[in-house]
């Protein structure tokens, strides 16, 4: 009898435990979903500004590509997708002294040309400020780069890195792709593989144009 009562109790405990686990998971999942849903909403309330304003005026050679100096605040502004119809954004962090950055740059220029009407592509140099009129625009000219180009001058690299992505460990190059809602869909520290990056960009448009498929119930 006792044995049966204990079995019944154990059964009850097991069932209740299972229910608790299921509720806990639903609750956690819902919290995450709420957070994801909340992010674009709050962003939409803010004033729509696409390009960050330069914080310093510098004398630049008119024959070389324009490089705009930005600080951490301007960087955060740049990365936001505040417009409801904003395009996906591809950002490449680089420096003239970084060999892998230089090596992958021609592919970046090619991607910019291929997806000009579909995505926004910007490059952000982490060179010293003294290079804003020197090696940075010279290299961009050499690459025939036409995308908006910036140079980040920040008192704290650590804070700037964290504001871009929690997954960026601080190495260059760093390439990150945001969708139209400003959510990170892909990133890579180190040289990107062009075909992989292309696939990630394509995926965004396939997803947007794909018909909605209802999951089948088993």
């Amino acid at each position: 009898m006792n044995y049966l009562t204990n079995r019944a109790r154990a059964k009850k405990v097991l069932i209740l435990s299972g229910l608790v686990l299921v509720f806990a998971q639903i609750f956690a999942g819902e919290s995450l979903a709420q957070k994801r849903r909340a992010a674009p909403k709050s962003a939409k309330k803010q004033i729509v500004t696409r390009k960050a304003k330069p914080i310093a005026v510098s004398t630049q050679n008119p024959n070389l590509p324009k490089v705009t100096q930005i600080n951490e605040v301007a960087l955060r502004k740049l990365l936001k997708r505040e417009d409801a119809n904003a395009k996906p954004l591809l950002v490449n962090f680089w420096a003239t002294w970084c060999d892998p950055c230089r090596e992958e740059f021609p592919d970046l220029v090619k991607l910019d040309a291929d997806y000009a009407d579909k995505i926004d592509l910007i490059t952000i140099s982490l060179d010293e400020l003294s290079e804003i009129n020197g090696d940075v625009p010279k290299f961009l000219a050499e690459m025939k780069a036409e995308m908006p180009s910036y140079l980040l001058k920040t008192p704290s690299e650590e804070a700037a890195i964290s504001s871009v992505s929690k997954s960026w460990q601080g190495g260059l190059p760093f390439t990150i792709l945001f969708n139209g809602q400003g959510e990170t869909v892909y990133f890579i520290q180190g040289k990107f593989k062009t075909e992989l990056l292309r696939a990630e960009i394509e995926k965004l448009f396939n997803l947007n144009s794909a018909p909605e498929v209802k999951p089948t119930q088993k």
Binding site: V13, V20, P155, I161, Q189
Partner: protein, 199 residues
């Protein structure tokens, strides 16, 4: 009453399990608090050196370095001063070069010209992989018991002209005085470690 107690314990156990499984997923493989087993690597003269032989009584600062990286060059002076300041406090600096693209001869010449501490060659970036080190310079500070106490940047400014937060020195001071380290990680900015291509 007994049934309620069992149920309560079961619920608590489940919640704990649920929370811990989520917390652990955010952890790095070799996070602060991990203990490092003694390791051996060759120095720039080809002589095998071990962590336990090179560390001081209060531990070691392992710094991933590069010969070519301008960010490392910007930090060299500060790293040398750090090594001198903390050797007296029982913490030795050990340089690690994990770059597959930098020849040993170059690393040797560069180390002899710039550093008074040993630089070890991390062939096939085994140590960098174990730690998850990705950039140069990147710091891993271990206490005397080989427990990782701090990981990341040296300070907040690569130029050295506008240093306002001395992450590493603050962590070392706190650790040496027996206090908990308030900020035990800080993203290091620098050149990516050039790893060997693995198939």
């Amino acid at each position: 009453m007994k049934q309620k107690s069992i149920l309560l314990v079961a619920v608590l156990a489940l919640v704990t399990f649920f929370m811990s499984s989520h917390a652990s997923s955010a952890k790095d493989d070799f996070a602060v608090g991990s203990t490092l087993d003694n390791f051996k690597l060759s120095d720039t003269n080809g002589k095998e050196q071990s962590l336990n032989d090179l560390k001081g009584k209060n531990g070691a600062i392992l710094v991933f370095l590069s010969v070519q990286c301008p960010v490392v060059k910007g930090y060299d002076e500060r790293i040398v001063k750090l090594a001198a300041d903390y050797q007296a406090k029982g913490i030795n600096v050990i340089g690690i070069n994990s770059n597959a693209t930098e020849a040993i001869e170059k690393v040797k010449t560069h180390a002899a010209a710039n550093y008074k501490f040993p630089v070890l060659i991390d062939k096939n970036n085994v140590l960098a992989d174990k730690f998850g080190a990705t950039v140069t310079p990147e710091i891993f500070y271990f206490n005397g018991k080989n427990v990782l106490m701090y990981h990341g940047a040296i300070d907040n400014d690569r130029s050295g002209k506008n240093v306002t937060t001395d992450y590493l020195r603050t962590a070392l001071t706190e650790s040496l005085s027996g206090k908990a380290i308030a900020k035990n990680t800080a993203n290091a900015f620098g050149c990516s470690i050039k790893r060997v291509e693995k198939q």
